[in-house]
């Protein structure tokens, strides 16, 4: 799959600070672990803030919980931006 913002679906680590998207798909390798934390398709996700060193980033998941993910882990989550 070609991933870029124009195409609609892209990896979570490309989401800019403050932007909100919806989880489209989670790569199988990390699916179980991330689902435990509440990362499932259809959930809304916002890039909250990034640590001083640039990684990890804290994401606001479903408007209620704040979860820090490293870039390597965020790559496993595909998201798309939904226009309001």
């Amino acid at each position: 799959m070609f991933l870029c913002k124009k195409n609609g679906v892209f990896q979570l680590d490309k989401l800019n600070r403050g932007e909100t998207a919806v989880i489209a798909e989670i790569k199988a390798a990390a699916g179980g672990r991330l689902a435990e934390m509440g990362f499932v398709a259809g959930e809304s996700i916002q890039n909250g803030f990034t640590s001083p060193a640039g990684d990890p980033t804290a994401y606001l998941l479903g408007g209620c919980s704040l979860v820090a993910l490293r870039k390597s882990e965020a790559k496993n989550i595909l998201v798309k931006i939904i226009a309001d």
Partner: protein, 621 residues
């Protein structure tokens, strides 16, 4: 009649309750409020690592409440959560209290749905932090929620006594009905489906304002984790706490040592002569030194640190520093275990259970004792106060010891990263690089309560343990110091034996001997050392800091000795309690040996380096 006796027995057995909830929904707080126990609460996932049990009586009925560790899901394979899963399977005729956070109702509802699918019933949904949610304008319709889930639902604020009573009343009324469960559903829904269902229910039952989200990513997080201010602010917080500790401990410390010195002759009058030496000089001297010098800094530092912890600050530290841990092949969660280690390394080693990866957990266990626990912390504080503080002009005397201790702590963290890097590249390769950690919301800590609880439960307990260990050690060391072998006290003989080794690394035999004899508890290193120096075996008058300074100078202490003593305080072997805990946790002699040797090797290497450096400086000057 018989039936009645039978009935009596039935009601005598406590009704069993389980407490289940996602991390950070205030489980420990609710548990403590219900049972009156004081389990230490923490604002991060995995703080409660083992199931805790407590009892209470309501309406003349006994209840036994089991607090299960934080869980994200009922049927999962993580070690952090398996305790929860197991206990749930055991609890046939029990009622489970599912705790949720009012500001994140959806996740609580998802957990409740999952639980109900697995167990068919037998649960009460209890929504905590209603006060915070109210302030945010979230309104929850508990009647609707209860109908949608088919179990009773109640909203509480765990801090309020009345709310806890309402909860107990609800449980009391519904217990019999609830503990009879229906069969579990055979096919379980996908997590995706459950979440969608939970989303629907929570949206229907709560009336949330549109933009609650931004409250969580508020100003505090933007500043605390900002590129420019994040790390300096963390250091400043820490420096502030250290400064308060050092400045604040001075006065009570002086007062206590004067008091003990005043009591000493009065007490000595009551002790029969042959026992005077061992009881008054040996035991009384050691114990009062520990109380006078160790207690004040501990009683100030740890309550303050607990406040930061309760406010949700520690996970942000882990978040800010995660990059360093990533570089060392570790997870930022190691930072949390190290912060626990600042209190007590044995606790830190237990806390390593929150590390999901096996190899990383072993490394975290081995490197935990590189972080100074509070016993060693107090040594660092008093040494830097008398030695470093005495070397600078008076107006800097308050600031220098603080900077010195801060530098030593930074050194300890840097060394632990180095050691972690070494182990993750050599002996324990292949740690998981994935990292996901929840950042709990900031909560305003209950300042007075925290101070009181942490003073009473933690400080008194730790000092109590130190006294229990130090009293017999004081006696033994006194005996060693007063048994003549060939014209010299045994203690002096032993230290002479160790002296060449000590000189090699820039300290002396007495210092090495003090570290060896203080294996039972680090707190007693200084008293043993002092007893060794005052060769007669008695301590200089109950260890006031100025006396100590003179005593050390008399025994040839230089700046190098003080620096190397501090380095060895940071890095020698873990205390006996920690070693036992390491073995219990890992059941591996290899890990135990590595935990013992790693800090030794590092400490000796660093001492050699400082000695060479000081020689080089002397040559140049």
């Amino acid at each position: 009649m018989r039936l009645e006796i039978f009935k009596q027995k039935r009601t005598d057995a406590p009704r069993r309750l389980y407490l289940l909830g996602n991390p950070n929904v205030g489980k420990s707080t609710v548990f403590n409020a219900m049972t009156g126990l004081r389990q230490h609460t923490g604002n991060w996932s995995g703080k409660t690592v083992d199931a805790a049990r407590g009892k209470y009586t309501y309406n003349d009925r006994k209840y036994e409440l089991t607090d299960l560790p934080g869980t994200h899901s009922v049927n999962s394979g993580f070690s952090e959560e398996s305790v929860a899963a197991r206990s749930i399977a055991l609890g046939d005729d029990a009622v489970t209290l599912i705790l949720a956070d009012a500001s994140a109702l959806k996740r609580g509802v998802a957990l409740a749905l999952e639980f109900l699918e697995n167990n068919g019933g037998g649960a009460v949904l209890c929504v905590n932090f209603c006060d915070i949610a109210e302030r945010r304008g979230i309104k929850i319709n508990f009647k609707k929620l209860s109908e949608a889930l088919g179990i009773p639902a109640i909203g509480i604020t765990a801090k309020r006594r009345g709310d806890i009573n309402c909860l107990k009343e609800l449980i009391d009324k519904n217990y019999d009905k609830l503990s009879r469960k229906t069969e579990a559903r055979e096919s379980l829904s996908e997590p995706k489906e459950l979440l969608r269902l939970a989303d629907g229910i929570s949206a229907e039952c709560s009336d949330a304002p549109r933009k609650t989200a931004n409250a969580a990513c508020g100003l505090a997080d933007r500043v605390l984790t900002s590129r420019v201010f994040g790390i300096p602010i963390m250091l400043m917080f820490f420096a502030g706490i250290l400064w308060l500790t050092i400045e604040g401990a001075n006065y009570p410390s002086e007062l206590l040592s004067r008091l003990f010195a005043y009591i000493k002759p009065h007490m000595a009058a009551f002790v029969p002569n042959p026992l005077k030496g061992i009881l008054v000089d040996g035991i009384y001297g050691t114990v009062t030194w520990i109380v006078a010098v160790m207690l004040p800094p501990m009683a100030i530092f740890f309550p303050l640190f607990t406040l930061l912890e309760d406010a949700g600050f520690l996970p942000r530290i882990a978040f800010n520093l995660d990059r360093c841990y990533a570089r060392c092949g570790m997870s930022g969660k190691q930072c949390l275990t190290q912060c626990m280690g600042l209190g007590c390394n044995a606790v830190g080693v237990c806390g390593c259970r929150i590390m999901p990866d096996e190899n990383q957990r072993t490394i975290a266990v081995i490197t935990n004792s590189l972080i100074p626990c509070n016993g060693r912390f107090a040594i660092l504080i008093s040494l830097s106060a008398i030695f470093i503080g005495g070397m600078v002009p008076d107006r800097l005397a308050g600031l220098m010891p603080m900077l010195c201790v801060l530098a030593l702590i930074c050194l300890a963290f840097a060394v632990s990263w180095g050691a972690s890097l070494f182990f993750s590249k050599t002996l324990f390769r292949g740690g998981e690089s994935a990292f996901a950690m929840e950042l709990p919301e900031y909560r305003r800590p209950e300042i007075l309560k925290t101070l009181a609880v942490s003073l009473v439960t933690r400080t008194i307990k730790i000092v109590g343990r130190a006294i229990l260990v130090s009293a017999p050690t004081g006696a033994v060391v006194w005996l060693l110091a007063n048994t003549d072998v060939g014209g010299a006290p045994m203690l002096t003989r032993l230290s002479l034996l160790l002296d060449p080794a000590g000189r090699l690394i820039g300290v002396d035999g007495f210092i090495l001997l003090a570290f060896i004899l203080s294996l039972p508890a680090n707190e007693i290193t200084m008293p043993i050392l002092i007893m060794g120096y005052t060769a007669a075996g008695a301590m200089a008058d109950a260890g006031s800091l100025s006396n100590l300074s003179a005593l050390l100078a008399q025994n040839g202490w230089t700046l190098l000795t003080a620096v190397n003593m501090m380095i060895l305080t940071l890095f020698h072997w873990p205390c006996a309690t920690t070693l036992i805990t390491i073995y219990k946790e890992t059941k591996s002699l290899k890990t135990l040996a590595l935990s013992f040797l790693t800090p030794c090797v590092i400490g000796i290497a660093l001492c050699l380096i400082t000695k060479l450096l000081s020689k080089a400086v002397l040559l140049i000057v």
